[in-house]
C-alpha cells in the first residue's frame, strides 16, 4: 500500500524517459515530436498526482456540504496552462516539419544533415 502511493511517480519517471529516449534516439522528426508530447504529458501526470486527496472530489464547491474534501485546484490550473503550451509547441513543430520536408524532401535528421554537408 505504501509503495502503491508512489506508483504514479514511477510511471511519471518512466514516461518521461520513454519520451526523452524517443527524442534523442529517433532521427524521424515527427517521431521526435511524438516523444516530446509523451515527455510533456509525463509532467502533467506528476502535477496532477500531487493534487489528489484521499476521499476528495473535484474542487467545485457544493452548496450546503460543509465537510467535503476537495482536491487541490492549483496544480490543475498549472497543468491547464501546460497542456496549452504543449499543443502550441506541437503545432509550431509540425509546421516546421512540413516546411523542412518541402525544403529537403525528407524528415529524417541524419539525411538532412547529410544534405547540408554535401552542399
Amino acid at each position: 500500500m505504501e509503495l502503491f502511493g508512489l506508483f504514479n511517480y514511477w510511471v511519471f519517471a518512466l514516461l518521461l524517459m520513454v519520451g526523452f529516449y524517443a527524442v534523442i534516439s529517433r532521427p524521424n522528426l515527427i517521431k521526435k515530436l511524438l516523444g516530446l508530447s509523451i515527455f510533456q504529458a509525463a509532467v502533467f501526470l506528476l502535477y496532477i498526482t500531487m493534487d489528489k486527496v484521499e476521499g476528495g472530489t473535484a474542487p467545485i464547491i457544493q452548496k450546503g456540504v460543509d465537510d467535503a474534501i476537495y482536491s487541490n485546484p492549483l496544480p490543475q490550473v498549472l497543468i491547464l496552462t501546460a497542456i496549452v503550451v504543449g499543443i502550441s509547441t506541437l503545432a509550431l513543430g509540425l509546421a516546421l516539419v512540413v516546411r523542412i520536408y518541402e525544403a529537403y524532401g525528407t524528415i529524417e535528421e541524419d539525411e538532412i544533415q547529410q544534405q547540408d554537408l554535401n552542399r
Partner: protein
Amino acid sequence: MITIVFGVFLLTLLLIVAIAIVREQDLFTAVTLMGIFSLLMAANFFVLDAADVALTEAAVGAGISTVLLLGALALTPGRERSIPKGRWLALVVVTLTTLVVVHATFGNPRLGDPGAPVHQHVAPWYLEQTPELIGIPNVVTAVLGSFRAYDTLGEVIVVLTAGIGVLFLLGLPGAVGERRREELALGRTYLSHHLVPQVVGRLLIPFILLFALYVQFHGEYGPGGGFQAGAIFASAIILYALIEGEREALTVISPRLLVWMMAGGALLYGGVGVVTMLLGGNFLDYSVLAEDPVKGQQWGIIVIELGVGITVAGVLLAIYHAFAARGR
C-alpha cells in the same frame, strides 16, 4: 482502494501505449496510439479528481493534436525509416536518469496523503476564500481566471504565438473562390460523397457547438471554461470542414475573421486588464469593474474566459486550415 487499483491499471496501460508509440514505425498508427494515450491520460486525470484537466486533455490531446498530426502526416512521409543500431548511449543515459528520479520519489509524499505540503499551504486558502471573494463554485476557474489571471493571459498569448507561427511558416489560407472549380473537377470534396459520416456528422455538429457554448459559459459552475470551449468549438468546425469541404468551412468563418478571432480574444482579455487599470485597480484586478467586488470578479472572469475561448478557437482553426491548405 478501488480507485487506486484502477489507477494502477490505467497507468500500466499508459506506459505500454507509450512504449508502443516509440516502437511503432508506421506513423499513422503511432498517431492513432497517441490519441489513445491522451484518452487514457484524461481518464487518469479524472480518477485523480482533476475534472477540468481531464476535459482539456481529452479535447486537446485526443482531439486537436491528433488532427494536427494527421494534417502534418498528409504532407510528409507516413513511415519512419528503420533506424540503425547503436543507440545505446541514449539508452544508458535514459536508464540512469530514470533511476535517479525513481530514487528521489521515495522522499515524495504518498498519493492522496492529506498531510502533504501542497494541501497545507496556499490551496486551502483558495478553497476557503473563493466563495467569499469570487462567489463561484468552481475553484479551478476562480484560480485560473482571477488569482492567476496573469498566467492565463500568458497562456492565451502562447496560443496566439503558435497561431502566428503556423501562419508565418505555412501561410494564411487565402481566398478559396478560385480553388473551388479545381476541387470539383478532381472530385475531392472530402467526405461529402460518403453518406454515413455526412448524415451522422451533420446531426452531431449542432450539438457539439451547443456543448461548446455550454462549456464556455458554465465554466464557473462546473468543469470547463474558455479553453475547453474553444477547443470543442474548433473541433466542430473542423468536423464540418471534413464533411463539407474546406471551402464551405471557410465561408462560414472567413480567413480574415479567423485572424480577427485570434487577435480579438487576446485583445479582449488584455482590454479587461487595461480597463481595470483605468478604473484605478491593478492590472487584471476585476473588483473595480462593478460596485460589488464579487460581482466585478464574476464579470471579469466571464469576459476573459470569452476572450480565451475566441482566441483558442480562432488559432486552432487557423492552424488546421493552414495545414489543410498547404496540401494543395
